[in-house]
């Protein structure tokens, strides 16, 4: 019944970053999108390449917090894995897909 336990991919590949948060109204995990909005599928997230882009994305997260759209925004490390964005930390992988023990509640990640 239990899901296979995967190792974290930490420190296996060079990271790029995206910005995540929880949506204020319902707490759902969301990601900053290229159009400045917030989407719930990680693969559609804005990938911040380079320090300037990351600073801009983090600032957008803080602005969205101030605008009461999201709560607790922060950047996370991801790698590109085929067609998808894979968080390096297991914690963020679980946030992206849902509890590993409830396959019926897994959420889609794709675009």
């Amino acid at each position: 019944m239990s899901a296979p336990i995967q190792k974290s991919a930490a420190k296996t590949k060079a990271a790029t970053q995206i910005v995540t948060a929880n949506r204020l109204s319902d707490g759902v995990v969301v990601y900053l999108a290229p159009d400045g909005g917030w989407i719930d599928r990680i693969d559609s997230a804005l990938v911040a390449e380079g320090a300037d882009a990351l600073a801009e994305a983090v600032a957008a997260g803080k602005a969205a917090e101030a605008a009461q759209e999201v709560v607790e925004s922060y950047p996370i490390d991801v790698t590109r894995d085929g067609g998808r964005l894979k968080p390096l930390r297991l914690r963020e992988e679980i946030r992206a897909v849902g509890p590993t023990v409830r396959p019926d509640l897994l959420r889609p990640t794709g675009v």
């Binding site: 019944m1 239990s2 899901a3 336990i5 190792k7 974290s8 991919a9 930490a10 420190k11 929880n22 204020l24 109204s25 319902d26 707490g27 759902v28 995990v29 917090e65 605008a67 009461q68 709560v71 607790e72 390096l88 930390r89 297991l90 914690r91 679980i94 946030r95 849902g98 509890p99 590993t100 023990v101 409830r102 509640l105």
Partner: protein, 553 residues
């Protein structure tokens, strides 16, 4: 059970209205998250990995069928069809939307429930023996005293901003099923020299990153002095407890740093002062008034032996296992206390679906006077079941996947939500519990092993009680990888002890084998089937288990 009076109804309704207004102001941006967070926590609302989480108080683990049915309704209407019973005898919903929580609280208030003081640095839900009011070995029902403490501690102005959270547990039986010695205050009901009811008082126990067994500060406290003495303890803690470091702020640290003798002296001195006022002396009339709410149900007289029960045991091995492990002697002849295991083999410890909650509520009405209990071991209990009714009850439980006969056995595993849900966790707990359950799941294997309590926490905060597991498992993050440390010899009962770390941790793919090595070593070295795992570990020490796990150095 306790029923709200006019004051209770008014108070809870006012708090719901207040929180509805706070949520509305948060959603419109009038309140920032920094302003709102302490307000939502006071109402049991956390933000976890995937969503908000609502922790609902179940005072001393007692539920009516009506209340459990309402929890099922909430699970289906506002959540994702299930809830999680916790080691604090509470229930957590993992997915409520913030905008819906005032409506959830409205529904809870309709059945005299709430989520107050399930978070924050206040006195939390008072917990007790899940067999309270039914167990054959009970001196007296601890729930009236827990209710008195609940009423006294609810929005207590002096104790709403303590150095840290504060947990009180009460047992009414010498067999401690409430783990009182690992609580901030533990109360053991006992008879005094004059035959009256009083308490042995323990202070300074706890788990978390610094596990400690409580010190007994009073061997006997008369029941009329319960509130005065607890108030004295709280005042000493509130005054001297550390506020500079949250990791050193629990009363256990104060007791440890001050010394048990000196802290006892301070408590006793404060007690003298509190007692002088007479304000907190519990009159007999008030104890009787509250106790009346917990009057034992009127049960039809039955012979001690039930032929239907005995015949069913002879007929079915599965039922016989259920009868052996999940039915505990009741104080009334011809009745039993039934543990409904929320640990199906390979399942998620403590989870129950909306349908299961409603089914158990119906079964409580049919067979158990409409009463249900929540155990800190994450099971549910039907406290008053006639032995004659056990076969029918068992059959109906089985229809809902609730008839696993494993209470107290190796697959009756406590596990915190862990990294699958919890924002504090470093590692997953539930998948490990599931894998262990599958590994040891055969009835023959479980019976051979006998009583064995495995407890798993996904971080050092120890919500999974790993410190007091006969085998404790603590998940840690080692350079991005989940690793599990094993402790042996812990216990939360009247012989309470903190488990000892046996050695370096094990990777995910190794840990189930490691636990099996520990179990096999026990089976090999025990004096016989009558020597339980805990007794064997205490007799043998760690060495044989170390050697089995790591080889001889």
């Amino acid at each position: 059970m306790y029923r709200y009076d006019e004051f209770d109804h008014g108070f809870v309704a006012a708090r719901v209205d207040q929180f509805r207004d706070q949520v509305a102001r948060r959603l419109t941006g009038e309140l920032t998250e920094d302003q709102f967070k302490p307000l939502r926590l006071m109402n049991g609302v956390y933000l976890q990995l995937h969503a908000y989480m609502l922790r609902i108080a179940i005072p001393y683990g007692t539920l009516s069928s009506k209340q459990l049915r309402m929890l099922g309704h909430i699970a289906r209407t506002y959540d994702r069809g299930y809830g999680h019973f916790t080691t604090r005898q509470n229930l957590q919903f993992n997915w409520p939307a913030l905008k819906d929580i005032p409506a959830v609280l409205d529904d809870l208030a309709k059945v005299e429930m709430h989520a107050l003081q399930t978070s924050g640095n206040c006195i939390r839900n008072v917990t007790t023996d899940h067999f309270a009011g039914a167990a054959a070995d009970e001196i007296t029902d601890p729930r009236p005293y827990a209710e008195i403490l609940r009423q006294w501690s609810s929005i207590h102005p002096e104790f709403s901003f303590l150095p840290r959270k504060f947990k009180i547990a009460v047992t009414g039986a010498p067999k401690d099923r409430a783990a009182i010695q690992v609580h901030d205050i533990g109360l053991e009901l006992k008879r005094g020299p004059d035959g009256g009811i009083g308490f042995a008082v323990y202070v300074g126990g706890g788990q978390g990153r610094t596990p400690m067994i409580a010190h007994k500060v009073r061997d006997y406290l008369a029941e009329e002095d319960l509130l005065a003495y607890v108030e004295a303890i709280m005042r000493v803690y509130n005054l001297h407890g550390r506020r500079d470091n949250k990791y050193k702020a629990r009363i256990k640290i104060l007791v440890h740093e001050t010394g048990a003798e000196e802290i006892t002296r301070q408590i006793e001195a404060e007690f003298v002062e509190v007692r002088k006022t007479e304000l907190l002396r519990l009159p007999d009339s008030e104890i009787e008034r509250i106790t009346a709410y917990f009057a034992p149900p009127v049960l039809a007289e039955k012979p001690a032996r039930s032929s239907a029960f005995e015949a069913a045991k002879a007929d079915s091995a599965a039922f016989a296992d259920f009868a052996t492990y999940n039915v505990t002697p009741h104080k009334a002849a011809g009745y039993g206390v039934v543990t409904i295991s929320l640990k199906p083999i390979g399942g998620i410890p403590g989870d129950a679906t909306d349908v299961q909650m409603e089914a158990i509520a119906d079964l409580a009405d049919a067979y158990s006077q409409g009463e249900i209990r929540v155990s800190h071991e994450q099971n549910l209990v039907l406290p008053h079941v006639a032995l004659d009714d056990m076969p029918a009850l068992y059959a109906k439980l089985a229809e809902h996947g609730l008839a696993t006969g494993n209470a107290g056995l190796v697959t009756d595993i406590i596990a915190c939500p862990g990294l699958d849900y919890c924002a504090l966790a470093n590692a997953r707990s539930i998948p490990l519990a599931q894998d262990l359950s599958n590994r040891f799941g055969s009835p023959e294997r479980q019976k051979e092993i006998g009583e064995l309590k495995i407890k798993i926490s996904g971080c050092i905060n120890a919500c999974g009680h790993h410190h007091v597991g006969h085998i404790g498992l603590l998940g840690v993050d080692r350079r991005g990888e989940e690793v599990y440390q094993i402790t042996l010899g812990g216990s939360g009962d009247e012989t309470a002890s903190v488990g000892t770390l046996v050695g370096p941790g094990f990777k995910t793919e190794e840990v189930v084998d490691a636990v099996e090595t520990v179990v096999d070593t026990y089976l090999k070295l025990r004096e016989g089937p009558d020597e339980p795992f805990l007794a064997a570990v205490r007799r043998l020490g760690q060495q044989p288990f170390k050697e089995a796990l790591y080889g001889t150095a």
